[in-house]
Subunit: 343 residues, 4 copies
């Protein structure tokens, strides 16, 4: 019997990407496709790619009574509703993967970086679902905090090297497609203002800054405060992080490459390139893949790690499905691929 799952917040990009991926999964039944403000509207009216799938499917209302009967729920809402729904589902014993930032940080960090007290500090932080580093915990977690897109991409590149890095020296320069900023319309996301240009934003208080720091500390020695600057690219999908850090004395290029290759040799979704080969975001478009490579500059003593994901794939819905597969006891790769739609 296929697991019956639900998606709440399916009118957003993360939720809709889950629908797209689940259409090719085979092992689950999508029982609920909820979107509060769009309830009753055809799914294809917002996501024309899904029209061929089931032209008559409409968004459901958010009905907790139905959700608590499911085998697993994805939350893809803003963090406010996610706290409330997550708490309810946890109480009801329904495994939940939350794509928002609601449960990623300890409550005090959340308060500092999100500018509001966390309504349920007792539930924070949830299991942090960077799959490659948290398989066991995810497999038995009742509530998984699915990592942010910049964070996933930066951490996959930095974590294998954390022991070799001097604390306090990490700089992460991120570049993202616009879908990472969500579906809400705004002047800064107007096509006319984005097309053909690039700009930084949010530094130095972008919330993913703290999530990078806590994510590093969760799986490796604490590397201290990180400088992070995100940039908006004139593309819909694609995320690239360029991370700089000073290496400890005696660490060389071979050590760096060895650490990366060793760590990811058996990973289906993370692919290490040779030094000097740099990944393109296009290589992982539409996939759950991450490609990365590193170079060491003996002049500066720094390593530069470049990593790419699809911000809606490994950076959001792909990783959420990867986590759900683990939690449901299904093959981890079900419904997922590391092969991007290139060129």
């Amino acid at each position: 019997v296929a697991a019956r799952i639900g998606i709440v917040g399916a009118s957003g990009y993360g939720g809709a990407e889950l629908l797209r991926l689940l259409a090719g999964h085979g092992g689950v039944e999508v029982a609920v496709v909820a979107a509060h403000a769009q309830a009753g509207a055809p799914v294809a009216s917002l996501f024309p790619n899904l029209g061929g799938l089931d032209a008559d499917r409409t968004f459901d209302d958010v009905d907790v009574d139905r959700l608590v009967d499911l085998d697993l729920v994805f939350l893809s809402t803003p963090h406010g509703p996610a706290v409330e729904l997550g708490a309810t589902l946890l109480e009801a014993g329904v495994p939940t993967i939350d794509l928002s930032a609601a449960f990623r940080l300890p409550a005090d960090d959340f308060a500092t970086w999100y500018g509001e007290p966390h309504p349920r500090p007792d539930l924070t932080p949830a299991v942090y679902g960077l799959t490659e580093y948290a398989r066991d915990a995810v497999a038995s977690a009742d509530l998984v905090a699915n990592p942010g897109c910049y964070v996933t991409t930066a951490l996959l590149g930095l974590l294998p090297l954390a022991d070799a890095i001097e604390p306090g020296t990490v700089v992460v320069d991120g570049k993202s497609g616009t879908s990472g900023a969500g579906r809400a319309v705004s002047d800064r996301l107007h096509a006319t203002h984005v097309a053909g240009g690039v700009n930084a934003y949010g530094s130095p208080t972008h919330r993913h800054t703290r999530e990078i720091e806590t994510g590093l500390a969760a799986f490796a020695p604490d590397l201290g405060a990180v400088s992070f600057t995100p940039h908006l690219l004139p593309v819909a999908r694609g995320l690239l992080t360029t991370s700089y850090a000073t290496l400890r004395d005696g660490v060389g290029a071979d050590d760096v490459q060895g650490a990366l290759v060793d760590r990811y040799r058996d990973e289906p979704f993370v692919h290490v390139l040779a030094p000097g080969a740099f990944p393109t975001t296009k290589a992982v478009l539409g996939s759950n893949g991450c490609q990365l490579s590193a170079v060491v500059d003996p002049r500066t003593g720094r390593v530069t790690v470049v990593a790419v994901t699809d911000n809606l794939g490994k950076g959001a819905a792909g990783q959420a499905l990867q986590n759900a597969n683990l939690r449901l006891g299904l093959p981890e790769t079900a419904g997922l691929t590391a092969i991007g739609v290139y060129p």
Copy 2:
């Protein structure tokens, strides 16, 4: 003494492009930069390119008392306010160039295509400011209806051939950058939905359809009803029309090329390419130029005319300034160039 001019609706793309062009004009003083909803806000907060010009300039309120004292006013508002302001300025004897559709069509056509009665049918249609075909009229006009972007581009290609075309056979396929759709935010103009894709819209009732028909009839024999389909391109600026029409018996490729070359030989802003060379929108980016070329297919008896403009240049603000120069007795090319920012 420099002419004192005003721009109303300067928070829109057309108005801001006028500001950009006038910064390099030299012969006029921009006395009023009005934008109702943005009054008091720095111009550079909406148009960061203009920050270097005069970082402290703020949008003025729309103050009719100040406008009636000016030597010329550009209206770059929606057509509703434009009717009202245009009527007032006309009464006050202030020459006005209206970039909206308020005065382009006869009142009955306006009612049909815009779905509302025209509040001042007595003022319609104003002098239709397709400059290359209306120089004398523009030079003495009190109210100029500045043509739409698709229309300007299509007409410049079709008009020299109108005598050679069978009525009822014209098809215009238009492609436009997103700035042609204006500054208002919307789901369909969300960067994420536009980036990397293309779609048609608005056919067969797009309002420029009728404007193409009346524009043709204004300067050439009536060619009847036109099929027009606009498309949205994933670029900020650039407009290309591909126009198809059946040639009258006996008209050949040489006749077509001859008609185009003869018509535009002395025009500073319209440039005819050799048959087989096709213009790119990038060649006229940021300029008042139009490039065009035509091919004749003896198998079908049709001519295909391809023309490009910058939809904010010759398709809007550029042509408006060209018209204003004529009306003010200044050199027609002042503040304008036919050289685009390529590549």
Copy 3:
């Protein structure tokens, strides 16, 4: 036992897209991945998305002895080599799907439009593999001419309406991403010249013009000579055709919509939208889907049909795989989806 297939010309975009699709197929074994000039090079050196699939796979040489042992071969070379290889494979009894133009046209048309005599007129035209219109023929064909991208997209929109269209009135305006122009580098495909612009090309002698005409005549009443103008879009993938035609007397909007809906109701890959809804190329990105819609303008008596595909999907490799599935007796949809990577 899985069918053993080969791809010749796998260093081109069509061949590589077949590799991507076949990675998710399950029912075939890719035994040969041949690319003459790239033999020995890692597949991932040209197609970084395929690195995760099998990092060590290299391109094979083109070895006819190996090809004749396979169950099916895809030819994705230029038409010159394709004629030779196709003839050899035909003689050897190996079912072949040719993605080039080698066998699409009758030999005399080929000579006219390609400017060279066809070396094997006896083999032309092969079964024309517009799948939805040629299932039975494809299922038993030894040589399938896989249709061109513009042609597939235009025909899927026009064919259901062919009975209702006046011959001699068809105009097709095509817009394509750059991958449709192939991998060879050139000034006109330089990223700097393409980014942010659009241009027409190739009209009126583009070879797909004749293929549209013969394709229409193959499956419907002959509609005579067609006007066709292709345009290059600043995107990697995506194809949109806007087709205009005069309707026969008495044909109305309901007839048009009815004909489209009836024809494609049960098709897994062709999706008809409501009139007034226009498809975006992004809805079918990376998929084998085609979305289309039509509007009728009573003023002109014309129908306008807008259709989108991914030029490497339904416009090339996707349809080739669809045809191969039929020929091999596998489920037609194996390895394929109609759901695009949107947004």
Copy 4:
């Protein structure tokens, strides 16, 4: 009498941009437009935007006898020919602005970073033409080395802060449009491979790394080795650098903002934004402007400076013209603007 100038290497993007700018200059006569491989070809065949300017102008051959008669020469060739021509012109007493890297570095650095001995070490380094920091030297220089695009952009942001920065802590993350990589075709600059994606390249041995270091040391205290990673954006024009550096003890946000504002208050082409406002490359498109802003993160003690230019404007031809104006005794801003073609 207008100064008679020449451009060598006018078939490249930098040379053609000079032609575009000089068309609006007024004070110089472009006497020679030389391009070795394109001699005799119409300028408009490579640069369609220039067709309207003078459709009949063709590229000249590189004729030293004509060049030595001019008042000033721009060299826009690769560095090989530039060394030779620069030496000849220097000997002939013709002021020369070289846009290549031929004379930017001391000969030993050149040998290390360019992998070849410098043929004329006696001429290196020439006056380094970062205009805002080298006005007097440029005004009297016989040979000006025009700075690289990444370097100009990074230096304009870092130099006012150099006294406040800890040596050895500078990281520069650069993002550039494809025109910065030149006109030569290649697989990596194929439109299909660039569209919709982003990738890093060249790190850690990109030649601009050393130029940033020597440029900093030329106008400020030596800040030691710099980490630099360039990235390729899917746009034709636009350059953004994000520079990170650790501040000396006691330096705060107000000090940083004050230093930037003080330094550039009277500069016509450099515009400092308020902290928290981030410039977009689109604001300076087609102009000689640079916009920049900085934020300080008290948690890390680092400053992040974001700066944008048009890589063909202030990053190449714009600055070259600015330097030429100084050398010729013309107004520094002649033919230039800080107002970009936005949106």
